[in-house]
Symmetry: C2
Subunit: 165 residues, 2 copies
């Protein structure tokens, strides 16, 4: 478990900066989403993940796997989103235990309205402050850390088309 040595002051400083950046960034985003869309960050995450899945729907467990909350946390958030009419629960065909969460029409709309401003905030706080080289290096470092933590590569594309209607 131990790794032998401690951390140098520089390593510790980097770690603290990482925590600080993550915290502040998260806080800013939370703020903006709340103001412009009445959504929390976890809620937006759920919508975005769903929009990225085929037909805009995903089983609870799959959703919990990629989203940043626990299983029970997801249940709660889906309930909230359902109250808001952005998502709907539907039984799973082949598995009577399963529940599928699906984006509603309103969910797609909300996401289309909300995504641009959100993405711009991410861009202006996380991307443009860095030089292209810095960003490339950051990507590489995060990929390495992510792989080491067992995080599945975050294959996500920008907002998809509306439902097949």
């Amino acid at each position: 478990m131990a790794d032998g040595k401690g951390l140098t002051d520089r390593e510790l400083r980097t770690w603290r900066t990482f925590l600080g950046v993550a915290t502040v960034l998260n806080h800013r985003i939370e703020q903006q989403l709340k103001d412009t869309a009445g959504l929390s960050h976890p809620q937006y995450e759920v919508l975005a993940r769903l929009s990225n899945a085929p037909d805009g729907e995903l089983r609870m467990t799959e959703l919990a796997g990629v989203a940043l909350t626990s299983k029970s946390g997801l249940s709660y958030q889906i309930t909230q989103l359902e109250k808001a009419g952005l998502v709907q629960r539907r039984p799973c065909d082949n598995d009577d235990r399963g529940i599928i969460a699906a984006l509603t029409e309103a969910g797609w709309s909300k996401l289309r309205e909300t995504a641009p401003a959100h993405v711009n905030l991410v861009r202006s706080t996380f991307v443009t402050p860095l030089t292209p080289d810095q960003f490339t290096h950051l990507t590489a470092a995060l990929d390495t850390l992510g792989a080491h933590l067992g995080i599945t590569p975050q294959t996500i594309t920008a907002l998809r088309e509306p439902p097949p209607t």
Copy 2:
């Protein structure tokens, strides 16, 4: 407010990886601190910040500034830490409004017991997976992002000496 363009898939992927890494890392640390010391990450942060201040004490506001919680959150956590005997509240000399949170003897001990394993976890999950070059680049990128977010440089040194007794 807008920044013109959206995000490329690659940029979005990096962002998601960042969120994932931050979340998982935080979760691991939370877990370990809870198991080995019965502390939450915010609580550990408070102790660490105090230990890094002269005499192991800091005014509430200063502490709230560097710690990762809101003011009310800090009040709550200090109360918890006080119940655990690790911190003590003390009125501020020159300012009757102020409250100073000070590490107790037990607080110093707890931190000395807890810090090594914690630091090793940070090291093994955040530092050693990266090559020295990668880490250097990561530091640079985070510093840039932090500066852009108005985060004060995280000057922190490793665990200090016990109280001057």
